[in-house]
Structures are given as C-alpha cells and as structure tokens.
C-alpha cells in the first residue's frame, strides 16, 4: 500500500506541474474551442495553431477540445462540459444541427458567448443564438470562383461532386455556375467516393462532352483522381482546372500548372479571428456587424511558396 501511495503522490505532483503550467497563461478571459474532428484528422492542426496564436497575442486563455473518435454525441457532451466550466466564450463547429443545437443553445442561455466556425451555416448560427459565423459560405465561395473563371474565359464546366448527399457540396457547384452566369444543368456529376470510379466518370464525361472548358473538383477526394484522368487524356494543363481545398497532390498539381487555383477556406482564420473578436467584445463591447468569411482564399502557383512552407502549420 505504501508503494501505491507513493505512486499516487508522484502522479499528483506531475499533474500539478502540468496544470500550473497551463494556469500560468491564465489572465483574464478564457475561451474554449470545440471541434468535431477526431484526433487523427491532421487538417485541424492548423486550427489548433491559430487558436494558440490568437490566445497568446490577445493575452487570454484558450483551450482546444475534440471528441477523440469524432463521435458527435461525445462532442455534445464536451460542449455541455465546456458550458459547465463557465468560460467567457465557446467557439464551436456545428457539424450536426440535431445533435449540437441543444447544448449550444443551453450554453448561450447560460450567458456564454458562442461563435460558430467552419461547419454549419450563418442561418443555423443565428438560430442557436451565436454571436456570428466564421467560415466559408459554400455558395459565395463557388460564386467567387465562378467569377474568376469567367474572367479567364470559361463558358462551360464539369463539377465533380464526390459528396452529393451533402447540400453544401451542391451549393459550391451552383455558386460556380451562377458566377459564370450559366445554368448548372447537368454539368454536375455524382462521382462517388471511389478513386478509380471518379477517374472513369470524369473521363467518360469529358469524352462525351469534348467542348467542356473547365473542371471543378470539391476537394482532394475528387481532385486527385481527376488529375490522373486528365493526365491519361492528355488534357492536363490544357483544360482549365480549379478545386476546393488543398492537399499534397493538389499543391503539386498547382505548381505543375495542371490546376489553376485551389480554394483555401483558411482554417487558421476560423480559429484565430473568433478569439480576437470575443476578446475585443468582452473588453470593449465592440463587435463586427456581420459574419466573417474566412474564405475563399485562392491559392495559385505564385502564392505557393508560403503555402508549401507553412502547410499543416498555419495553412
């Protein structure tokens, strides 16, 4: 039993050290960011870094919480728990309105300021009583991309939708069509998630519609096989190619001149800005009058240096 007590003491001392290291940063406000991402999702590392930097620069305590396995029901508990610890503000994603709206509403009603980031929509953010929404409205991002493509002389396109069940993905294609000033019609294909299937469908579509000017993909899942498809058809670098989100192959393709631009939703801003906004709101009562669009940021071959340098850290 003596050995046991000794172990307990050592553990307690170690834990105290860790806690006080955290508490040393505490000065003034405390904000908790809750995400829906599992531990394994490295994309969110950018969010963590943005949050930490925001906390450091504003002199506030920030904490990052996420459900280890990405289970949204666990995430609801984490939000409840964050609310119980009475922070000044909660920054959270709204990945599933059904599951999360209750706990978020309760936090708001308990007097905690909430900012919705990344997932969800500005309308849903308003509905749960959040201060604002910081993210990339999908339709607007698609629209901006469409305008950009129209400027480059694009008149028809193929939208490779690998996640057609998600309304946001359809909005991206719709926005792009509207930005171009044309009808979406049947220029959007349901590609499925399987890489070889995506590749074959893109090839089939482009063979059937040889006068297509541009290709739009909605993320690495559809972009990577599309790059292969264009390679095989000898269209790589010839056809106008834009994509949402960044990834290893996409960055490579941008530098190779195969992809014109990648749309970055700039997750850094989704974590950094809410900390700044909340701190200033609590200290001076000032609040931007609208939601904040963290994206679209267009990444082209010219801007690739900084992206490649800071990929996974702040980009």
């Amino acid at each position: 039993m003596k050995a046991v007590m000794k172990t307990v003491t050592i553990a307690a001392v170690a834990a105290t050290a860790m806690i006080s290291a955290n508490a040393a940063m505490a000065e003034g406000e405390r904000y908790v960011l809750v995400s829906h991402a599992p531990d394994s999702d490295s994309w969110w590392n950018t969010i963590k870094n943005g949050l930490a930097l925001g906390g450091e620069q504003m002199g506030v305590t920030v904490e990052y919480r996420n459900p280890p396995t990405g289970d949204l029901a666990d995430m609801a508990r984490i939000i409840e728990q964050a609310a119980a610890s009475a922070p000044d503000g909660i920054i959270t994603t709204l990945a599933d309105f059904d599951v999360l709206s209750g706990p978020i509403r309760n936090a708001v009603d308990a007097g905690i300021e909430v900012i919705i980031i990344n997932s969800g929509t500005p309308e849903q953010a308003r509905e749960v009583g959040a201060l604002m929404y910081v993210g990339q409205p999908e339709y607007d991002a698609g629209f901006a991309a469409g305008q950009r493509a129209a400027g480059d002389g694009v008149a028809s396109f193929l939208c490779v939708n690998h996640y057609i069940a998600q309304p946001a993905s359809t909005e991206r294609c719709q926005g792009f069509a509207d930005g171009l000033g044309i009808d979406l019609g049947n220029q959007m294909i349901d590609s499925g998630q399987d890489p070889s299937e995506i590749q074959n469908r893109v090839m089939a579509y482009l063979n059937a519609n040889p006068d297509t000017d541009a290709v739009l993909t909605l993320g690495p899942t559809s972009a990577d096989p599309t790059i292969l498809a264009l390679d095989q058809m000898g269209l790589a670098g010839d056809i106008y190619f834009g994509t949402f989100d960044l990834g290893g192959d996409i960055v490579q393709a941008i530098s190779d001149g195969v992809i014109e631009w990648g749309i970055d939703q700039q997750p850094f801003l989704q974590a950094y800005l809410p900390v700044v906004v909340l701190t200033n709101y609590h200290r001076f009562g000032v609040l931007p009058g609208n939601n904040i669009n963290s994206g679209p940021g267009f990444v082209t071959a010219d801007a690739l240096g900084l992206v490649a340098d800071l990929a996974g850290e702040y980009r």
């Binding site: 105290t16 409840e80 059904d98």
Partner: protein, 371 residues
C-alpha cells in the same frame, strides 16, 4: 466420519470481518474512486466541475459507460468478450433512425424491433462462439466490422448520407421514447433553482429556468441495470452459473450448469445493454450517425477491468464495473475542468488502467492466496 480440527473444510472455515471486506473484487475500484474524487476536488474544486451542470455532465458520461460496462462485466465473468459493442451502438441507432424516419413507422415500433434485432445478433454471436469453440475475441471482432459496415452502407444506400436526423420529431408524443430520452425530477430542480441552490438560465426563451432541468433517463437506466445485474449475480442461482461458466466451464458442465445457454444469454444481455445505450442516445440527440459508438467496446472493457474483473472470467463484480465506469467518466470529463491538455487524456487513461490492473492483481493475490 467426523473431521479433526486440522482438516476443517475450507468452505466452512471462519474468516475475519476485515478479511471478508477485503476479499471483494471491487476493493480496487473503491480505492480508485476515492482517489479520483479527492484528486479532482483538490485540483478542480472551484472550476464548475461540482456545480449542478458539472455534476450532471460527468454523471451522464459515467452512466453511458456504466450501461455498456454492466453488460461487458456479466459477459466477462461468464468467460467471454464482446468487441462488437461499439458497432452495435452505431447499428442500433441507425436501425431506429431508418425504421422511424425513413420508413415512417411509429418510434415505439422502431425501438422494439431494434431491441429484437440486437438481441438476436447477440444470440448469434453467442451461438457461433459456443458451437464453434472459437475465441469470442475473434467472432465478435468479425461482428465489429460487419455491423459497422452495415451501419455505413444502409443509410448511404437509402438516404445517400451517413447521418439521419429528424428522430426528435418522430418521437414527439410517443409513449415509449420518454422511457429512454426523458428526464425525471423536473419539479425538484425548478424548486432548487428558485431557492438559488443551482443556477438558472440568464437569458433566452428559458430564462429563469434551472440550468439542470431533470435527471436524464440514461442515468436511471444505468443505476437500474447495475442494481438488477448485481442482484442476479450475487443473490441467485443463475448468478452462480455465470461465475461457474466463466471459472471452469468443464467443471461447471459436470455439475449440471447449462454453460452454453448461460454464455449465449450473456451475449444477448450485452447486446441489450448496447441497444439501451444507442436508444437513449438517438432519442436525446435526435439523429443517428454511422460513426456513433466508435471504440466504445474498449471503453466498456476498460471500465470492467478497472472494476476488478478477471479477463479470464469467473471473477468480478458489477458494482466494481460501475465504479470503474464512474472513474472513467470522472477522469475523462474532470481532466478538462482541471485544465489539462486534452491530448493527455489517453496518457492518464493508460496510466490509470495499468495502475488499476496491477493494484487489483496484487490485492487478489494477497487475499485469495493464489501463487
């Protein structure tokens, strides 16, 4: 015929009160629970962990663990494992969502059908294990993948997405749903809120109402299952059969214990517990997702092991498993209140698990005098 003093049968040998108190399998868990609470009262005492919301939060999380730990504990005492618990949770939730939302049937039908389905799958698990003599580890590992696969496949096939919502609307006015998703003691909490004992919402449509508006049925289910399982295990003949089946199946068969039946029934009970967990979850949150319940099978086993059960079967306690679940829940949620970096949770979990197992083994060796 009469025995001499030197050869008194060990079964009727007198043991001291203290020794009797120490021989309990849940001793380690009791010590652990006290240590964990002491730790958090010292380091997170004024962080909101012990106000009404905080207590409700870690009790709810602990109750979730408890529900699946009770099933896993009974099964482990009977000498078997079930690794399909987590997948079963996702599967059951999705089954309720598909039957009630997609097919539009009443939610009570969905719940009852899902329970029947899950218990049948539990029985299938058991029958395969018993008939083939394969380790339950492998058989249920197969079901971990099979059930998770279906949980992703069916909603994608039918609804083209992996999260199905709208269960709250379907559950409105239903007679069975409140049994899983309801709350009890609302009036009591309003009274406490009026007295100022617990905080009230400061704004919004519910301003003036207490922040905690009742005890979720989830907690009632957990306590109920623990009590019933504990009584069955320690006070009935069937409980003895469970211990016997896990301790030495062959010896148990010789004395007439229907070992196979007991094991299959324990698999069914584990599936039942997973289904209770899933039902409470979908009714509370109003949606079912294909990723629900990931890794819950290990969390259940961890709680049971912290609670002092032997991985090889034949030894353990439901009360211990419940305390193990409590420790698990309190540590998981408490580290947050104490301000510890969340990625360190797994480190603490590993340390606690190792610590608990070593302590339990140590205690058991001294007490039972084995080796």
């Amino acid at each position: 015929m009469s025995k001499t003093d030197a050869t008194v049968d060990e079964r009727i040998k007198e043991t001291s009160k203290l020794r009797k108190a120490l021989i309990r399998p849940e001793l380690g868990a009791i010590v652990g629970t006290i240590a964990v609470f002491a730790f958090f009262i010292i380091f997170a005492g004024n962080s909101g962990m012990f106000n009404a919301q905080g207590v409700l939060n870690w009790s709810t999380v602990s109750a979730q663990f408890m529900i699946i730990a009770v099933g896993a504990c009974m099964l482990m005492i009977a000498g078997e494992f079930d690794l399909s618990v987590g997948s079963m949770i996702g599967f059951a939730g999705m089954s309720i969502a598909i039957i009630s939302v997609t097919l539009g049937w009443p939610i009570w039908v969905a719940i009852l059908l899902t329970f029947a389905l899950c218990i049948a799958i539990g029985a299938l698990n058991g029958i395969i294990v018993v008939r083939t003599g394969l380790p339950s580890f492998i058989v249920t590992l197969a079901f971990l993948f099979i059930l998770r696969g279906f949980t992703i496949f069916f909603p994608q096939l039918i609804e083209r997405r992996t999260i199905i919502g709208g269960i709250s609307e379907a559950a409105e006015g239903d007679w069975l749903a409140p049994l899983f998703g309801g709350k009890v003691g609302g009036g009591f909490f309003i009274w406490l809120g009026d007295l100022g004992v617990i905080e009230v919402f400061s704004r919004g449509t519910r301003a003036g109402q207490p922040v905690v508006d009742g005890i979720p049925m989830l907690i009632i289910w957990a306590l109920g299952l623990v009590a019933i399982a504990h009584i069955i295990l320690t006070r009935t003949q069937f409980g003895n059969w469970i211990f016997a089946a896990g301790g030495d199946a062959q010896a148990a068969r010789y004395v007439g214990v229907p070992v196979n039946r007991v094991k299959i029934q324990m698999f069914m009970f584990t599936a039942f517990c997973a289904c209770v967990f899933a039902t409470c979850q979908v009714i509370e949150f109003g949606s079912a997702g294909a990723d629900r319940g990931l890794l819950k099978e290990f969390e259940a086993i961890i709680a049971v092991v912290i609670g002092g059960a032997l991985l090889t079967g034949g030894y353990g306690s439901v009360i211990g498993a419940a305390l193990g679940a409590l420790i698990f829940g309190v540590v998981q949620q408490g580290l947050f209140f104490a301000g510890v970096e969340s990625s360190l949770f797994r480190v603490f979990l590993g340390v606690i698990l190792l610590f608990a197992v070593i302590l339990n083994t140590y205690i058991r060796r001294i007490i039972t005098g084995e080796r």
